[in-house]
Symmetry: C2
Subunit: 230 residues, 2 copies
DNA sequence: TAATTGCAAATAATCGATAAAAATGTTTCA
DNA sequence: TGAAACATTTTTATCGATTATTTGCAATTA
């Protein structure tokens, strides 16, 4: 409806086959429908997505740069591997980049941004947790809104990529597990409050802490699972 | 010859059409043969590269994620715009990310890395400046070698992307101009020395300074040129 | 038995052609 | 004149088919 608020959404009819394939494959990898290291055969994907080889290849090329897909010349594509090291790398980078982005966002704060932030938080809170994918979409929107006032499109893009890479691990660990022991809602609320107060140090600290806690949890989870990489 | 030293190089006969197109188009954009904002018509590129539409499209998709190309659905591709803001964004991010990468590299220093570093520096110094593209390739290799021991492939990738985006502006400003007033050789030497000494603070400071000086110069250059964006 | 070679099937990469969409130019009508 | 509607041309996006490459298997040899 309102194109200003959510520019990311695109009409299903207008979207190109490439665009649709991109979103579909990304979702399957992030959610875990396609598992890590799995071979992505063009034939299989064209059949599943009901489209030709060109859009599929193009989508896979785009996902390659998002680090969700690996391309090996003449040997096709495969879903990126997961590993503890990879997870820790993502977490560390995410903390560094989001810290920067959030501080810049707050430094450039406007009423318009503040209102968008409150709104995105409200929408996330209102969304029932049962619909996991719907909640995750709003959760991402909230986190990206925190950053999107930083004035640096490249930084935003990197943060968005890292967010997706990270969330993939959350799906691997299973959705519910983590949220039991923590009050995620309160954490979000606290981050929002600090941002609205334009207290960059506090907001950044809370945000990073939010990530580190999830990170520590997931790390614990990974150490209990298959130690063999791949 | 020695595959261990330069994994990036690929045999021209084995490389896929996509790979060749990717490198060719990237080069043209970075070097300025294709100017900022220019439309990238599939037909024109297939003719120029002597290949079909699919590899060209795939290459352009890859370049999209490198931020060198913009894709607009049903409206094709165009070379990314340049602007002062974009340049400053790149410079700032580069300083932040390379600072991090260099410190991690040094923290994980080994003799093997140290030797690779000395070697890449030597090769750059030995290369005559007349062959601009050859020198630039070795220059990039030296800078990337500084970072490539950081143990974070994603960070390396981001730094590499930002390097390419940045160097595009150097080409826009013209090659020679900048190097006249500064002793770039000495700066490189100093960075190398600090890195070999495993003095992270000093090395990072020198590296960032190296970039900031180039940045300041280019900024001065841009203010003298067309203020109208695009 | 282990390694090597040669073949066949599977799959990736690429091309050429077609369909869909956008841009451009032209005519018509107020 | 100006703008709206239409037709034409250009260009993008997609498909189906062809070609090139790899992979897996079996036969052969040391």
């Amino acid at each position: 409806m309102n194109k200003d608020i959510q520019t990311t959404e695109l009409d299903a009819q207008t979207a190109s086959a490439t665009q649709k394939a991109y979103l579909a494959i990304q979702r399957m990898i992030v959610v875990g429908e396609i598992s890590a290291g799995e071979k992505l055969k063009i034939g299989t994907l064209t059949a599943k997505l009901g489209t030709g080889a060109s859009p599929v290849r193009e989508a896979l090329s785009l996902l390659t740069s998002d680090q969700l897909v690996e391309r090996i010349d003449h040997r096709g594509f495969r879903a990126a591997q997961t590993s503890r090291e990879n997870f820790e790398e993502i977490l560390g980078l995410r903390c560094a980049l989001e810290d920067r982005a959030l501080r810049q966002s707050i430094a450039a704060a406007t009423n318009e941004w503040e209102e968008r932030l409150v709104l995105s938080h409200h929408r996330m809170v209102r969304q029932p947790r049962e619909d996991v994918e719907a909640f995750e979409a709003l959760h991402k929107t909230f986190h990206m809104t925190l950053l999107d006032n930083c004035g640096s499109p490249i930084l935003i893009r990197y943060c968005s990529q890292l967010y997706d890479l990270n969330i993939r691990y959350r799906y691997i660990a299973g959705q519910t597990v983590n949220y039991q022991s923590r009050d995620i809602g309160a954490e979000h609320q606290a981050i929002l409050a600090a941002a609205v107060d334009r207290n960059a140090d506090l907001a950044a600290e809370r945000l990073i802490n939010h990530y580190r806690q999830t990170g520590a949890f997931l790390n614990g989870f990974f150490s209990r699972m298959v130690p063999v990489d791949l």
